[in-house]
């Protein structure tokens, strides 16, 4: 590396690797700013957006609506881009969102083996594990093993369908509605929907998990 960021005394405490990275990133931002390519105030807003505004609560709301409203569910499965766009939750959902439905016979799981493609608009930024080598390498060859890492066990005859996000199409799982939630409001239903169940590495919470 061409960077001269090592400590003068050559010491490396536990934080040294991180601070070297911090210095490198700070240097890059300085260069890009001084050259007039970026505006730090705009960068602040991008960070704020990702930390505060997006997130899996958007996807949870979509799923809750699909559970509560059969007409919306049909629309979502037919064209998720259009159906989610019509909710007005987000400025623009992109052109290629696809919702895939779990059934008693089929469980869906989303991965990007080549990088870290993920439906940002409806789930926010991906968690570290989603971008990690263990998940990317194993999801397509040993999805049951991956599910076991999440404490999820499916019956042996359930088909597991893994969607490798190798293009700009993006996927979101429509999980099965938990039993015992008849007549629940969308808001209550949304509380059952976890980020992991929207990726397919988890199942929705059971009603008794949120009653307490």
């Amino acid at each position: 590396m061409a960077h001269d960021h090592s400590h003068d005394d050559g010491s490396h405490d536990d934080g040294s690797e991180l601070s070297e990275t911090e210095l490198r990133v700070r240097a890059l931002e300085t260069i890009l700013t001084e050259k007039g390519y970026v505006d730090p105030a705009a960068l602040d807003l991008i960070v704020e957006h990702h930390e505060g505004k997006t997130g899996p609560h958007i996807g949870a709301g979509v799923v809750a609506k699909a559970w509560a409203d059969p007409e919306f569910k049909r629309a979502l499965l037919a064209d998720a881009t259009k159906a989610v766009g019509a909710l007005g939750l987000i400025s623009r959902v992109g052109d290629h969102l696809i919702a895939v439905e779990n059934t008693p016979k089929r469980h869906n799981m989303i991965v990007c083996t080549l990088c870290s493609c993920y439906p940002w608009e409806v789930l926010g930024l991906p968690p570290v594990w989603y971008k990690s080598a263990p998940y990317r390498s194993r999801a397509v060859i040993d999805p049951r093993g991956v599910l076991a890492d999440f404490g999820v066990k499916l019956s042996a005859d359930t088909e597991i369908r893994v969607w490798d996000s190798t293009a700009e199409t993006r996927f979101i799982v429509l999980p099965r509605r938990p039993a015992g939630t008849e007549n629940w409001s969308e808001e209550r239903l949304a509380a059952l929907v976890t980020r992991d169940c929207l990726i397919g590495t988890g199942l929705p919470r059971r009603p008794d998990e949120i009653r307490s």
Binding site: L28, Y37, S137
Partner: protein
């Protein structure tokens, strides 16, 4: 390229370790990296495929060893040097030493919302799709040394077209500076045993999103 980024089916990386209550960013610098990457893409310095390609071209040991957003940083540095937007002496000095080059536009506060809207990758076409849902297709044995989105674990394998997704910007072309060259995109589903042999989980199906040039009739 046949890089370590193409890791579907590899062994030895260990268990998946979810982190409870994971924050969006684990340190301030991670957010700055993501923001810079998006702002520079807005400026026209690169597109999503060029940014993926730059990371794939990192030395394999580096690709695997560094944290996610540091990998982004290294990819950005590569692309900035390649585009001539930043010079090596500037990276070493940690400050600008030469005047900036003209860029298409600069992301400012008032237009920042524009980066939150995901881009559209579908393109109009006069060509008809070569394949239809239900068709048996084989992923070609392609081994380009440049960017591609056909994962190695599917090459030479036979699958079935499940859906036609429209005509999309072709990453192999756009990453190489060859323009959008739009191609039909399909969801192609493979049986687990076709990919991994008789030992595979019998109930497994894996699909990829495959551009037409990746496929041939089977």
């Amino acid at each position: 390229m046949n890089g370590v980024h193409d890791m579907g089916g590899m062994h030895g990386f260990g268990k998946v370790e979810p982190e409870p209550n994971e924050p969006t960013f684990h340190a301030r610098w991670e957010g700055r990296v993501l923001a810079m990457a998006r702002a520079m893409a807005f400026s026209g310095a690169w597109n999503i495929d060029m940014s993926r390609a730059a990371q794939e071209e990192l030395p394999p040991a580096v690709y695997l060893a560094v944290p996610y957003y540091l990998r982004w940083t290294l990819g950005m540095e590569r692309n900035l040097l390649k585009q001539g937007l930043v010079e090596r002496d500037e990276l070493a000095a940690g400050r600008a030493l030469h005047p900036g080059k003209p860029v298409k536009r600069v992301l400012t506060k008032d237009v920042v919302e524009r980066v939150f809207a995901r881009g559209a990758f579908g393109r109009p076409t006069n060509t008809a799709a070569r394949f239809n849902p239900g068709d048996r297709v084989r992923a070609k044995k392609l081994n380009p040394s440049t960017h591609t989105r056909l994962p190695r674990y599917t090459r030479g394998r036979v699958g079935r077209v499940e859906a036609v997704r429209g005509c999309h910007v072709f990453p192999d072309s756009v990453a190489a500076g060859g323009g959008e060259n739009p191609q039909w995109l399909y969801t192609v589903v493979f049986d687990g045993r076709e990919l991994w042999g008789e030992q595979a989980e019998p109930s497994l199906k894996v699909s990829i999103e495959a551009f037409e040039p990746y496929l041939e009739p089977a």
